[in-house]
Amino acid sequence: MTAALLLITYAVAAAGAAPFLRKGTWAERSPKVGIIVWQSLSVTVIASVVLAGVMLAVPAMPFTMTLADFLRACVTVLQEQYSTPGGAAVTTAGALIAAAVTARTGYCLFSEFTSARTARRSQLRSLALLGRRDPSGHFLVVDHQTAAAYCLPGRNNEIVLTSAALAALDEGQRAAVIAHEKAHLRARHHVVVAAAKAIERAFPRVPAFSIAHSELVRLIEMDADDRAARSNARLTVATAMVRLAEAGPAPSAALGAGGTSALARVRRLAWPSAPLGRLHALVAVSAAAAMLILPPAVALTPAVSTAYAQTCPTGFPASI
């Protein structure tokens, strides 16, 4: 019970930390670290709630050496739990929470990944008819008067540029765009985005998840910019962005109110700030690791301590 409450409190605190985590420039300085931290935050919140539910449903299971002992202890513990009227209610509530959160998360992940895959397949089929391979072999060209450059991840990785985008870029800028898209494909950024989007859709009332989603969308772009800037001048990547923006589509009215991250991207390409120092990066990655380890660790602690209590010769006979 205590451990369950502890986990719930922790989940609320972690989710509540999201708006503060978004502040500052730490993630922009090292987008890769930022991606890890934001993903860990979503995982830790969900894992804590599920484990808290499990712990309410299943009272601390003793940790014994033999199966017979274990089963006997289980029966004793469960009998105790159900003999009190409140116990049964708590158990049911816990089981429901754990099952509902797991099912909802799983369902949304599944539907997000399958719908993205279906949409990609239909895009690929249509591209087979419309696109022509550039002589370099690196990308497909679609004739269209709107400048756009994008990649279709998945088994048949494809990078697509419209003819208008090609016309807007010189050779160096084009190389920068291709490097950026290749970075997306290589780092499998679409998986990051799909998972974040699925979790946001699963629990739309938890602001932490929508913050994590928008931060991750922003950070994968910055990460891809950084990777593109390894083989291209930073200012060339920035110039390619601005030229595509100038030749790009007029935004639809449905554009999110959050504003775009393009300005921040160009700024950090033009005037790069130093990446996080080794110490800060280490702190951030350790925090992410702690977020992943903490929920299962808290959940297991009561089992371990019960095991200790049960094997302790003085306490055990008295409890029977």
Binding site: A128, Y150, T260, V266, A270
Partner: protein
């Protein structure tokens, strides 16, 4: 791209370059100039394209005459519309190099870039 996709695209390419309805035989002869291919293969793929809604057909004697439902430009426009729509709702289907940007922000982008280029050229002096 797999072979069937290639054949579909070869057929659509020819359909789009012709005006007016054509018979399977016309397309077949056209393709046979480049490679050996059976009548039934072409017919099957054209039926598939009809089923997918890319080709219309009307009876002509014992066979059919086919025509594209959309011009190549219309098809490209519909395709790109879908692509651009996916850019604004942040789906995981495609990853765009750049999201859609309001006009005033484009001007801001240009201003930032110009300043950066100025900085760079001054530093270079």
């Amino acid at each position: 791209m797999h072979r069937l996709g290639q054949l579909e695209s070869a057929i659509m390419e020819r359909m789009w370059s012709r005006s007016g309805p054509v018979a399977v035989r016309d397309i077949l002869e056209d393709i046979q100039r480049n490679r050996d291919i059976a009548y039934m293969t072409v017919k099957t793929v054209m039926d598939t394209l009809h089923r997918k809604g890319l080709l219309d057909r009307e009876p002509d004697g014992r066979a059919f005459r086919y025509r594209p439902t959309q011009t190549r430009e219309q098809h490209a426009a519909a395709h790109m519309q879908e692509v651009l729509a996916s850019g604004s709702d942040r789906t995981a289907t495609l990853l765009h190099f750049l999201e859609q940007i309001p006009a005033d922000e484009v001007a801001q982008l240009r201003a930032v870039l110009d300043r950066a280029e100025q900085d760079k050229s001054q530093a270079g002096k």
